[in-house]
């Protein structure tokens, strides 16, 4: 069953991460009313989150997300990491 984590950035955007969490994070889908440049980087962010063990810590996720060559607008790597962790049951 896919699970969803949602973070509302204060005075900002809604970040929603849907994923499968068995041993590892899989099938990541990032949606919301944020901005991202280039738009194609959404797949790169999803790939950066996927593959980590389900007990991954926030710093590791932030580091992986920061490694993606993209401009996150209306949210940052920490918001995305928080939404990811919230989705892990």
């Amino acid at each position: 069953m896919p699970a969803t984590g949602t973070v509302k950035v204060p005075d900002g955007k809604l970040i929603e991460v849907t994923l499968e969490a068995t041993d590892r994070i899989e099938d990541v889908r990032l949606t919301g009313d944020f901005f991202l440049e280039p738009p194609s980087a959404r797949a790169d962010l999803e790939a950066a989150i996927a593959g980590h063990p389900t007990d991954v810590d926030r710093e590791t996720l932030v580091e992986a997300i920061d490694g993606v060559d993209a401009r996150l607008i209306g949210f940052d790597a920490d918001h995305l990491a928080a939404a990811t962790l919230e989705a892990i049951p």
Partner: protein, 248 residues
């Protein structure tokens, strides 16, 4: 800077959204001069943000019953419900060199002339970061940008006298809010230009042209037949298809 103004042309929502891609690419390729375009629509529609999940935003049964077009934009941001004649949408297609590289600053500066225009009509409008135009009673509208190659697309939709009840039936923000209190709260978040000035919609657009004229050297123009034909082709190929509109 010289800015061409295109204030004509009524298109379906898929063609409108396809024009955004085509005109941004033409500006980037040096095939089109910097342009301000006012939109004219032929039917109610939902313009969905590039990264939004269709089923999260749209009341799918209502939309299927009424045939409201739901079209995914090339820009991020939130879903907007739009109706012909009751919203004002405009697009700016500009070279990157003319736009602040700081995104937050660029939203403020590319909406500043609109805020000036509304204020000249007595509407207490202001830019609200990141990308909203607000009135003390709620949100008048929002902007969205795309940077692509050497081009920046900045488009903004404002409510003139939007049917808020229809908006709440179409978008899911209204769906789960069964209590009167919740609907009142959603209605409160939408502010409409027409509630705060006697100016009709055309006069608002005239005021916007005047305010743009304080910042740019305006020249009237029209879209080339070729650009419109390219947008119609792209609409058929992408913006009219579930593969694009329902990809998320």
């Amino acid at each position: 800077m010289r800015l061409r103004v295109v204030d004509a042309g009524t298109y379906s929502e898929p063609v409108q959204q396809a024009l955004e891609r085509v005109l941004t690419d033409r500006l980037a390729a040096g095939e089109m001069e910097p342009t301000l375009r006012f939109w004219y629509r032929d039917a109610p529609a939902v313009a969905l943000g590039r990264f939004q999940a269709y089923a999260d935003e749209v009341a799918t049964d209502y939309v299927a019953d009424t045939g409201v077009d739901v079209v995914r934009r090339v820009t991020g941001g939130g879903a907007m419900y739009v109706e012909p004649g009751s919203v004002i949408t405009y697009s700016l297609y500009l070279p990157r060199a003319a736009v602040d590289d700081d995104v937050a600053a660029s939203y403020a500066s590319l909406d500043a002339w609109t805020v000036d225009a509304l204020r000249s009509l007595g509407v207490d409008a202001s830019h609200e970061p990141l990308n909203d135009i607000a009135h003390p009673s709620g949100k008048l509208g929002g902007a969205a940008q795309l940077r692509s190659g050497d081009a920046v697309l900045h488009h903004t939709t404002l409510s003139y006298d939007l049917d808020v009840a229809a908006m709440l039936r179409t978008l899911r923000i209204g769906e789960e809010k069964v209590s009167d209190k919740a609907i009142a709260s959603a209605e409160k978040r939408v502010a409409r230009i027409g509630d705060h000035t006697a100016a009709d919609r055309d006069s608002v657009i005239d005021a916007m042209r005047d305010a743009a004229g304080d910042r740019f050297d305006l020249v009237d123009g029209t879209l080339s037949d070729d650009a419109v034909a390219a947008a119609r082709d792209l609409a058929a190929e992408r913006f009219e298809t579930d593969a694009w509109n329902r990809q998320l």
